[in-house]
Symmetry: C2
């Protein structure tokens, strides 16, 4: 591509309403433009990247044996009523009425439509397993769209759905998709982790998120420094401490603690190490718990993990913290003075708490604490469970290495759905015995447009984007210096442009005239994130040299003209 014939819509100013780096850089590099809140037009440079991501996703889906389909954006209300999600989705769905006053939505997802197709087209177990995917535009009417295409209202997704009648078959396809996702993110050139994820309200059997690691991520993920173990922080197991509980060395003391309502108060005012403190949190219990409430206890320096807590059979879902009023009525003290000794309601303690000794905790009387508490001597050890979020440096639950914690951006999600939709829509096939069986499903999503933003969050510097070769809008940029003064410079640049293209590379030749200064051309190449840059100058050519710079590298290097094409072809990494 010649820059003179191409919309280089770079801008110097950082747009006012952009908060995250990828949003700022996509606007500055002229990749996208905002049409309305959460609605973006993709300009040529942005679309080139989006299409490359699409292509890699499509190739790997095809390779994995998934069959591509395309379902409409606009979906009739009836299917959503049939699945029971018409009300559930609420304002997140963009509703519309056609000229005959029939209700439709702009599909936020396609489980209903694919299940409708499956119930009509799949009739026999012999057609299973079958996996269908599409790359399609979706719409979610977010209350507050933000971060550019990271959380836009209209966006491109790859969604795939598999159909089975046995859990084994579903498990097999789940693993097949897991591998396909790894190939996709490997090929995209991104640093990512597949992490165990919560199956949540959908109640499926297994789920992994694919997280692109980036400082600006909103999700925390824990992973081993020595193995493949990785999990969403909500799911990462905090293992039973290897150390045994210490023997009691202190007597139990009831202490007046008039102003101590928080862990910090105890640590500061009573000289208690934080590892010797506990937090006692009271939540609503399931109906069969007589007290109606249950106390959950974690160490003072740990955090209750609400996802783990909600999964406990005694705890009511969704997790609901008790009010001070409820707590006082049940326990007789306020939330700042609770503890295990003489606790009148059932308790569950975290694994780390179960090995504490000589620790302090509320006395279940306002303004009083017990110090020197020891399990079994002062109070029976209640049920022990994994209640807290892991912290960096803890042992990995698979027994290999220690956990690190990083932030990630969720770009993919695979999920064993079970029979939720097939049951609601009565999608059955005949099994080997000629009996109707409700199918079970897996679903597998990739946020195609979000990947573009996530790649930038992971790969940028102060000057702009640093694209992985596989999804760069152009592999190589050529900057001819002062070409208006030297016909030779432009000749060499043109020949290089032709030769590199003939070698199968995508090249941006900055042939803009002298009104665009070399400084602006260099800045644009950096901002656009073109991974390989060649400068053609009079001075260099005098010695038969070009100048090469990799986008991420510190230094330029001389490049003999004769070797340029081979050099670049070897440098560009595109699988």
């Amino acid at each position: 591509m010649r820059a003179s014939k191409y919309l280089i819509a770079t801008v110097k100013e950082t747009p006012a309403d952009a908060v995250v780096v990828s949003h700022k850089l996509m606007l500055r590099a002229g990749m996208i433009r905002k049409l309305a809140s959460g609605l973006y037009s993709w300009l040529p440079t942005g679309l080139k990247v989006l299409r490359k991501v699409e292509r890699i996703v499509r190739e790997e889906m095809d390779r994995a044996g998934a069959q591509e389909v395309l379902m409409p954006c606009v979906q009739p209300a009836e299917l959503w009523q049939e699945s029971g999600r018409w009300d559930e989705m609420g304002a997140l769905m963009m509703h519309m009425k056609d000229r005959h006053e029939r209700d439709f939505v702009f599909g936020p997802t396609h489980e209903e439509v694919i299940t409708d197709i499956a119930r009509n087209e799949l009739t026999s177990y012999k057609q299973l397993p079958a996996t269908f995917y599409q790359i399609q535009t979706k719409f979610r009417d977010e209350f507050r769209p933000r971060f550019g295409v990271m959380r836009a209202r209209e966006f491109t997704m790859k969604d795939a759905y598999s159909f089975h009648i046995t859990q084994d078959s579903l498990q097999g396809e789940y693993e097949n998709m897991y591998q396909a996702y790894c190939r996709i993110f490997d090929r995209l050139g991104l640093d990512y982790r597949p992490v165990l994820a919560d199956t949540g309200a959908m109640g499926g059997k297994a789920s992994h998120e694919f997280q692109v690691l980036a400082e600006s991520g909103e999700d925390y993920i824990a992973f081993s420094d020595s193995s493949d173990y990785a999990a969403n922080i909500e799911m990462a197991e905090a293992v039973m401490p290897a150390t045994q509980r210490g023997e009691p060395t202190e007597a139990l003391r009831l202490v007046d603690t008039p102003n101590a309502r928080t862990i910090a108060d105890l640590v500061n005012d009573y000289d208690l190490p934080i590892e010797k403190t506990i937090k006692t949190l009271v939540v609503e219990a399931e109906e069969d718990v007589e007290a109606g409430l249950i106390a959950l206890i974690v160490r003072g320096d740990h955090e209750l993990n609400e996802v783990k807590a909600e999964k406990l059979p005694q705890v009511k879902a969704p997790l609901t913290m008790a009010t001070e009023e409820q707590i006082r009525a049940a326990i007789g003290a306020g939330p700042g003075s609770l503890g295990p000794v003489k606790m009148p309601i059932p308790m569950i303690v975290d694994r780390a708490v179960s090995v504490m000794s000589d620790f302090g905790g509320g006395a279940n009387v306002d303004d009083k604490h017990y110090f020197g508490i020891n399990w079994e001597r002062d109070v029976a050890l209640p049920e022990v469970a994994d209640l807290r979020s892991v912290q960096a440096g803890e042992p990995s639950p698979d027994g290999q290495g220690t956990l690190q914690i990083k932030k990630g951006i969720e770009v993919g999600h695979i999920f064993q759905l079970g029979n939720k939709y097939a049951k609601a829509l009565n999608a059955t096939v005949l099994d080997e015995n000629g009996k109707g069986q409700t199918m079970i499903m897996g679903c597998y999503g990739i946020g195609v447009s979000r990947i573009v933003a996530a790649a930038i969050e992971q790969n940028h510097d102060d000057n702009g984007i640093i694209w992985p070769d596989a999804i760069a809008p152009f592999h190589v940029g050529i900057v001819p210096l002062n070409a208006h003064k030297s016909p030779e410079v432009m000749e060499v640049a043109e020949k290089l442009y032709a030769d590199l293209q003939a070698a199968g590379l995508e090249v941006l030749l900055d042939d803009r005239d002298k009104k665009t200064s070399p400084g602006v051309k260099f800045a644009d190449m950096e901002l656009l994130g073109i991974p390989h840059r060649i400068v053609v100058s009079d001075r260099g050519l005098a010695d038969g040299q070009l100048e090469y710079k990799a986008r991420g590298a510190e230094d330029k290097e001389p490049l003999p003209l004769a070797e340029a094409v081979d050099f670049i072809r070897n440098r560009v990494k595109v699988q």
Copy 2:
């Protein structure tokens, strides 16, 4: 692809609600499924074809220098209000309100959005000309969607828009796009004609439609048997007859014609050759015509062309036929008794009428006609114009050959838009003198999903679809006969499958088990329209032979096994 792992969703029965062949065959071949009125899901076989059409369109747009962008489906009302089309489009636009009660539409077209982008991104004449295109989903809420994807509500279009400040530049890009469109339809392997089209209410300078010839087309097109001339019937010029007007041979006679109100009555009851009759039609006139009405006269065997009539400066647009009441008030006779002699309102006569002599026409008195009318002797020859539609066999307006008339399906349309949108949205650039200039635009559409249906309308027989190689879902089908009885048959079929794929061809191997009979397999191959079929059988292999059949051909032919791959590779025509 192995048929055993692929959704072959063929059905025998012709679906009840499908009227046209393409709709029937797309349903029967399992290419599409209806989700709701005018909304179709593309199943794997259909999507393969759609993606191939998309790819060819994209490649030729890129080659032509157009830059791909992607604009949102969902568009804010404000832009449509700014262009003045918010009300104009009416119920054809699918309206929606987001959760904040702001108005949006599912874009039926993107002139507004691209003009908004252009006014922000294009600032200097040096950036022009610039052409942007997208391949995007559009929605038109048709009152009565029909013919499957031929007139669906949700559909895929390629729309391109070019920006200029001189008519020369627009003309140049228009020709460039014209050539690109020809390359696209050539590569698609379709019999098509670029035809001159009406610029209509948009008032642009030039317009061509690209019509795929098909019996079932809704448009009539006229084209020369000896040159490139082709035009929509609305636009094809009916040239001045080469023959001079004959000298009068009859006297003017006023005849009582009590029951003659139509041409047929005159011909049958008064023995008048139809070429000696005329039709006099009265339409509303522009304001400056004092009578308020104007009479348009065509020969009895010709049809008034309403598009041509509407373009006459004296005729009010849109064309409005006068009521009997208006006619009686102005002329004193009913519509069945009108003619040129003593006509009190202005007249325009068709070219063919201007050379008539000794003809009959109404006397502008009820139940009376004049016979033996001759121009100039009995009434002055009024203004002559091209008023009628051409008929097959007439001379081509370019002077080369005679016209044929065929039916076509409009699949593309290129159009010189002028400054309508740029003016409404104030899209200007600075010219060479630093002065703001409103841009002028061209727009260039292709009905991508419609092409799939049009290709089938043009290429099918009683057994199913006959795909051109370029857009066939698979190039080659392999049918192993009774493979369960002969391991060699399956071995050869598998090797052929691998070798043909290695040669870059897309192959469907029908490896379905014996429960699928050979008859069903053959029928599916025909219905799916796979252009090249190879049968592997025990009997053939005994002589080292396969059997080859081209989908459109009558006969099968033996194919030596050793030559099969080369033979097929040479047969498949994909540019």
